[in-house]
């Protein structure tokens, strides 16, 4: 019995409920929300150290033994995702205290952020397929809410696309779960690991394809990503950062989890398809970014491109590749959140998101320039930042498995990534400040607010640096996590051996 495993879900749920009671008291809301995230972070740290020390952990909810009840389980991969979720969660809650403070629905934002975190953590921890669906829905509806709080017309129209395209994904997932249950009689991941291989190959293909489709929409893979660039840039920066960091990653998590545990697809046609898809995803994403001129749109398209890199790992299905994917996932969550946060700060400063209306930040705010450089170059994969190691691992894995054109695509995309990051740099930072700002920032920035903005930005930048410079422990961790995914005996043992 290990209650630590449910805390990452219970804490934000409880926090959200408590926040509902607080209503409009901004300071109290901020305090409670940060406190909740702080607890979550603590639990995340405890969880990961437990898993590192004692191997995969599991707890059965309601004391019903596996596979009858719902089991929450954490291996290294899950634990890492939970921890990183809380790192981002805490950062964003702090940032939003400045960014969203003046929104009429400030309290609702905080409530929904906590619900979202609950959903995300639930998805990372559950070892039950239908329960995964439930957490996906929790996450999704929280994101619907966040997307449409205080929404203007652009946001509503972006929201329509986000909502309907995502609904197709969850409906497909539900259908697939129903069919898989009918075919195997099981819902528990570990039990499914034994049950699915005996199904007829045709059926496996159908079901695997349905799951892959559903998760691909969530992860914004080519060509199913249209909802993302249509909606993310309409969001307030802190929400955009949260979405960018976590939502697509949950999709990727689900891909990795199901396709290592339930449908190990090594050597099947899916592998080929996924390899092709990852290349196209990288390419379309970065081209999209190259065609845009507002920071949030550039960054939104970049999410897609980077998702492509992460998917390479699972598509190639070697230990190095999956380790690279996991490292990439962690790196990208931090970096992308940070870039959106910086974008939000610039937006606040200039009252616009368009590059042509910005300039001179390099001179007026050199600290921010440094803070931007770190994630921007990390995103582009420059050494010795976090992005380099993950990109290196992924590219090396593609070369080692003789997927040369995949490596070539990844490299070309890197060049375009540099280009679009430096486009922001050249315009917002280096270009002289516009002489006639079109719209003055609505409110001036107090030093306390600036602090709230900058603390998360600086922390994330520091993390990027640390992962880059002390890559060894991180990579070794990712390597171990990949090993656990490829040889899931320990995970299965933990899940099925769970006591009532």
């Amino acid at each position: 019995m290990n209650s630590l495993l449910v805390l990452p879900v219970i804490i934000p749920l409880g926090g959200a409920l408590f926040l509902c009671m607080l209503r409009k008291r901004t300071t109290a809301v901020t305090a409670v929300s940060s406190l909740t995230a702080g607890f979550g972070l603590t639990v995340g740290v405890m969880l990961i150290s437990l898993v590192v020390k004692q191997g995969p952990q599991a707890v059965s909810l309601g004391s019903w033994p596996a596979p009858y009840g719902i089991v929450f389980a954490a291996d290294l991969f899950s634990a890492a995702m939970v921890l990183i979720t809380w790192v981002i969660g805490l950062g964003i809650v702090i940032y939003s205290a400045a960014d969203l403070k003046h929104k009429p629905s400030f309290a609702h934002y905080q409530v929904l952020i906590q619900f979202l975190l609950a959903g995300v953590n639930g998805a990372f921890l559950t070892a039950d397929l239908f329960n995964l669906y439930v957490w996906f829905e929790v996450m999704l509806i929280a994101s619907f809410g966040l997307m449409l709080l205080d929404a203007g017309s652009i946001q509503i129209q972006g929201g329509v696309k986000y909502v309907f395209l995502n609904l197709i994904s969850t409906l497909t997932m539900l259908l697939a779960i129903g069919l898989l249950y009918g075919a195997t009689g099981m819902l528990n991941f570990a039990e499914l690991h034994h049950k699915t291989p005996v199904l007829s190959p045709g059926l496996i293909n159908i079901l695997a394809g349905l799951f892959l489709f559903s998760f691909s929409v969530k992860s914004a893979l080519f060509p199913l990503y249209a909802w993302l660039p249509a909606s993310y840039h309409t969001l307030p920066s802190s929400v955009a950062a949260l979405f960018a960091a976590l939502l697509t990653k949950v999709g990727i998590y689900a891909v990795i989890r199901t396709f290592t545990l339930v449908f190990p697809f090594e050597g099947t046609g899916w592998q080929t398809i996924l390899i092709a898809v990852s290349g196209l995803t990288m390419l379309t994403g970065v081209l999209g970014a190259a065609s845009q001129f507002t920071i949030k749109k550039i960054l939104s398209f970049h999410i897609i491109s980077q998702v492509g890199y992460i998917i390479i790992g699972i598509a190639l299905y070697t230990r190095l590749a999956i380790a690279g994917s996991i490292l990439y996932l962690i790196h990208h969550i931090i970096v992308k959140a940070n870039l959106f946060l910086i974008g939000g700060f610039l937006n606040r400063k200039f009252g616009s998101d368009h590059l042509s209306k910005m300039g001179g930040v390099y001179k007026s705010f050199p600290v921010l320039a440094v803070l931007f450089m770190i994630p921007a170059f990390s995103l582009a994969g420059f050494p010795p930042l976090s992005g380099f190691w993950s990109k290196f691992a992924v590219i090396r894995a593609s070369i080692e498995t003789d997927h040369y054109w995949l490596a070539a695509t990844a490299l070309i995309v890197s060049v375009l990534t540099i280009y679009s990051m430096l486009k922001i740099w050249n315009e917002a930072f280096w270009k002289p400040a516009p002489t006639d700002p079109v719209s003055k920032p609505v409110r001036s920035l107090s030093s306390r607010e600036a602090c709230l903005y900058l603390v998360p930005i600086a922390t994330f930048a520091l993390l990027t640096l640390i992962i880059g410079l002390a890559a060894e422990p991180f990579f070794r961790f990712a390597d171990q996590a990949a090993l656990q995914l490829l040889e899931p005996a320990d995970y299965i043992q933990a899940v099925l051996g769970v006591k009532g």
Partner: protein
Amino acid sequence: MRSVIFRTTAHIVIGIMLLFSLYLLLRGHNEPGGGFIGALIAVIAFALMILAESAEYVRQRIHFSPGLIAVSGVGISLFSGLFALFLNRPFLSGIWWKTSLPMGTPLLFDVGVYLAVFGAVLSILLRIVEDLE
């Protein structure tokens, strides 16, 4: 439409429906029914009340804001699960006081479901009605 007869009948029907919804909630563990079904019947009852009276009337009659009811519903369910943690058992483990009398945390959980669904659906219903007026 809002004749006296309609309103009186409506009130009687609403009363019966609310009682029925509670009955469904309580027997749900053993017979068809349960928190969700009960809650929906209650909401339909109040929808009838909105039709008979007005949204404002309903708001006044419930005393609490429906949103708050919904939140406390989730809170009750969560709490019923947390109860097991204090006894050092996994989250959501059913704790029963007397084996003979069916009274335990799963029932509390169902009450939470009832309140959550009732509050949530009613709050949207009221909001839409108000918005359309």
